[in-house]
């Protein structure tokens, strides 16, 4: 409903919006700045904003201490893997809920959401025992499955709401033309739901990337993603602000950049059926 507004009002609104936007972004900006400071200047009083001796040393130190790439690759593998796996299971499920609704569809959906309500630490020991006995501890495959299951209810819900908005007549028309179930999903439904699916993929990647309980507790050396990387820096030691900032930025930069580039797609689909 963006409408033409008078210029003075636009100036005021722009100023307010920018101030709020910068305030919200400020903690990240400050961390980025600090990560380029020498340690001593990171805690200077009064704080230094731009006039410090820019350096890449902190990044070098962090990289020397931990093999960043290995953690990064694991994060990428886990978030993409769990998303792909999740879609394979969620798309058919959401399709059937949207187009062949049963009496209990709503209840099933809510039940699925309720599986997210167990505090993870409450089931840590059982899951750990199961993983031990199946040899899945510290394996990317095992963790991918867990992350997929954690986010599955959310994916199904999102897809369900997109699919439901697709008019049934189109499907019927396709059926008249002799389309089978497979064709119907592949050639009719999926293209129409692309914005929704894109948004679902993005949200799922973000959630998987940032999951910090299972990724920390079920991994050791092989499957550890960036959440474990940051856990080796989260406790300060000596002068540490700059190095901590560098490690933080390294952990969030990939997902932040991806998010910024794809924000249009993310925003367009992030409705959960809230928009009629």
């Amino acid at each position: 409903m963006a409408r033409a507004i008078s210029t003075p009002r636009k100036v005021t609104l722009t100023a307010v919006a920018w101030i709020i936007g910068l305030l919200i972004f400020f903690p990240i900006l400050w961390t980025i700045l600090t990560s380029f400071k020498p340690e001593a200047q990171a805690i200077a009083d009064p704080p230094m904003f731009l006039s410090f001796d820019w350096t890449l040393e902190n990044y070098a130190v962090v990289q020397e201490r931990s093999d960043y790439l290995r953690y990064l690759m694991n994060s990428v593998f886990l978030s993409i893997g769990s998303t792909v796996l999740g879609l394979l299971i969620a798309v058919p499920a959401a399709w059937s809920m949207a187009f062949v609704p049963a009496r209990r569809t709503k209840d099933v959906l809510m039940w699925m959401l309720s599986t997210k309500m167990m505090p993870p630490v409450g089931v840590l020991v059982p899951i750990y025992l199961i993983f031990r006995d199946t040899g899945l501890l510290d394996s990317r495959v095992g963790l991918t499955v867990v992350l997929m299951l954690i986010n599955l209810p959310i994916i199904i819900w999102m897809l369900y709401t997109y699919f439901r908005e697709i008019p049934g007549e189109i499907l019927e028309a396709a059926r008249m033309d002799g389309a089978g179930l497979k064709e119907e999903i592949l050639y009719v439904l999926t293209p129409m739901a692309v914005p929704g699916i894109a948004s679902t993929i993005l949200l799922n990647i973000i959630l998987a990337w940032n999951e910090a309980f299972w990724t920390l507790n079920l991994t050791a050396a092989n499957a550890a993603p960036l959440t474990a990387f940051i856990a080796s820096y989260s406790s300060p030691e000596g002068l540490f602000y700059a190095k901590l900032s560098a490690a933080s930025i390294m952990a969030i930069a990939p997902i932040l950049i991806m998010g910024w580039f794809s924000q249009k797609q993310l925003v367009r689909g992030l409705t959960f059926g809230a928009v009629k």
Binding site: F77, L124, Y128, L137, A231, G238, F240
Partner: protein, 438 residues
Amino acid sequence: MPTLIRSLLGATALTAIAWSAAAQQTNITIATVNNGDMVRMQRLSDHFTQLHPEITVDWVILEENVLRQNVTTDIATGGGQYDVITIGQYEVPFWAERGWLMSLDDLGEEYDVDDLLPAIRSGLSVDGTLYASPFYGESSMVMYRTDLMEAAGLDMPDEPTWEFIREAAAAMTDTANGVYGICLRGKPGWGENMAFLTAMANSFGARWFDEDWEPQFDTEAWANTLNFYMDLLTNYGPPGAANNGFNENLALFQTGHCGMWIDATVAASFVTNPEDSEVAETVGFALAPDNGLGRRGNWLWTWSLAIPSSSDAPEAAREFIAWATGPAYLTLVAETDGWANVPPGTRQSLYDNPAYLEAAPFAEMTLRSMEVADPQNPTVDPVPYVGIQFVAIPEFQGIGTQVGQIFAAALAGHTSVEEALEQAQELTTEEMEAAGYL
């Protein structure tokens, strides 16, 4: 989408190749804390793999609390994720009793087990068998700024009393310039504020339990301890003391905000290192304070390496531990990083080494502190437990952390000392009853 799947498959194939290449070798996974000495060990581990080309090493370096959580879960369930774990003295007795740790009695000739400091060795042994090998050991002592002490017109004795500490803290505090007379641990946790407070309580004649495992927080000795501690920190301590642990105080001391700091002896090498510390030239050391009751407020702790019984490569793990905690490692660190950075507090030979004594002005005080610490008889009155700043029973970690939170809340001004002690007494009694001690 197909490209995505292809690249995923590609990644899997690559990993598979990497795995099969590694299979001809023994791979060990080492879990350790992110302290400076351990990070150095990781950096120097190339020397180990050169000596043992058949062994490859994977590192899991985590912040202390996360590490303890992961290692405990793994060892309690026999998960077998780690071949070498870093544990404190606290866990060794009951983990060994459970059969979760492998004996380390045969680390080889070069390891020279008799060189280990007796107090350290006995803390890591059960019935004379060594179950963990000390990587570094520490006691606690007073670190103070000689320049500020002089300006205050005071002279720090080698064996100060708590009363002197209070006097000096008052004289050194200069809030306007951001100088606080004393920095102490306030951050809640059994290994944070409770380590300090438990050791301090020993010197005030207090104890956690009497001989029948009755909690003792309702005694006057504990009230004195906590009141004195609160008085020091609220009047002469830095703001936000209730969130300061070892690392936070280290940063404060290094940046010149503390007049005195009573904490781990290993901090001495950090505060005297000119690269990290702005006050490196003006630091003095003294024994932890006492009240003339025969016990000082210092503790004894070791970070040590052990092998879980669930390890699938115990031989390689043994090789690594013999290397990392053997005498040759000290020489290696001395060559690469200088004597002052050698992990201290484990071996007598280090304190007989003139090169070390010269490079480390804190060496003598560290050794003296460790010598006056007696984990077998930590308190003035007799107790049924072992351990100075902890009680070596499995329940202590949970109880200690919760009591630590109660005391930290008092320090932050949320409750009074009386209320805090009452709550601590109630909680501890409840937990000990549940655990079957009472």
